[in-house]
């Protein structure tokens, strides 16, 4: 999958359980820099944790790209999770609460969408999946 890259983005591999922890820590640190409220920080980090685990477990590993973004007045954090795994054949189904193709709770994708202000997903069977999330300071 092609993704717009940024020179300021920090890229982390997502290949092991310990990488998921590193992604959480990086997102937390940037969320603090962006001065997100504690609840927004917690929501964003939780969403990042769910998506990084999806990248690892369902995507067979991939990478996370996290960066501070600004539109002048507001600062935010953007995170992109991408893999070259099997992709998601039925996206509507995958975004349904409680549906899981594995042994999880089926909340990762649907739940993390509720935790952030911006959520975009791009997936193709056999090509991979790219999920982009962002939350801005209020």
């Amino acid at each position: 999958m092609t993704a717009a890259t940024s020179e300021t983005a920090e890229r982390l591999p997502v290949r092991a359980d310990s990488d998921v922890v590193k992604v959480r820590q990086l997102v937390r640190s940037l969320a603090q820099q962006a001065r997100l409220s504690l609840v927004d920080q917690t929501k964003l980090v939780t969403a990042a944790s769910e998506l990084a685990r999806n990248t690892l477990v369902y995507g067979g590993g991939g990478e996370a790209e996290v960066e501070l973004v600004s539109d002048g007045a507001r600062t935010g954090v953007r995170a992109v999770f991408s893999d070259e795994g099997p992709g998601i054949p039925d996206l509507d189904l995958a975004l349904t609460d409680g549906w899981t193709s594995g042994s999880g709770l089926g909340l990762g994708l649907s739940g993390s969408r509720r935790l952030v202000q911006h959520f975009a997903i791009d997936t193709a069977p056999g090509v991979g999946t790219r999920v982009e999330i962002a939350t801005w300071s209020r």
Binding site: D17, V39, Q41, T42, V45, T46, S49, E50, G111
Partner: protein
């Protein structure tokens, strides 16, 4: 694999205080260690202090619910204590319910919740019957 989470025993209660950002495999290991310790010590209560956790995602939430279910089958009660307000808000939004897991605001309240169960109803009835006989 990172270091395991220490499990303390106080009377008939096991106390676990999670102070680090839990890796998934560490969480699974804690689940197994707790089941083993409950069986070995005959503990009647488990208190899991999550005040050090900055997030509870679906994986950790499922681990907490599993520990509660496993301890129930092993005749012990689990109380999760110390959840941060931002974590509670996020968990509800995520759609994560801790199911039948009992919760308390802090360790002290959690211990108070377990105390009546230190003595089973049967023991209390037996003691009362003995007093009447005597």
């Amino acid at each position: 694999m990172s270091d395991g989470v220490p499990i303390l025993k106080i009377g008939s209660t096991l106390l676990v205080s999670i102070q680090v950002d839990l890796q998934d495999d560490t969480a699974l290991r804690l689940q197994e260690d707790l089941a083993e310790r409950i069986t070995r010590t005959g503990a009647r209560g488990v208190i899991i202090d999550i005040s050090g956790l900055e997030i509870v995602d679906s994986f950790i939430g499922r681990m907490l619910a599993s520990v509660a279910a496993i301890s129930h089958v092993l005749d012990a009660t689990t109380v999760v204590v110390g959840m941060r307000p931002a974590v509670a808000i996020t968990m509800v939004e995520l759609g994560l319910s801790l199911g039948d897991v009992r919760t308390a605001l802090d360790v002290e309240r959690g211990l108070a919740m377990l105390r009546p169960e230190d003595r089973s109803a049967e023991e209390i009835l037996l003691a009362a019957a003995e007093r009447e006989e005597g």
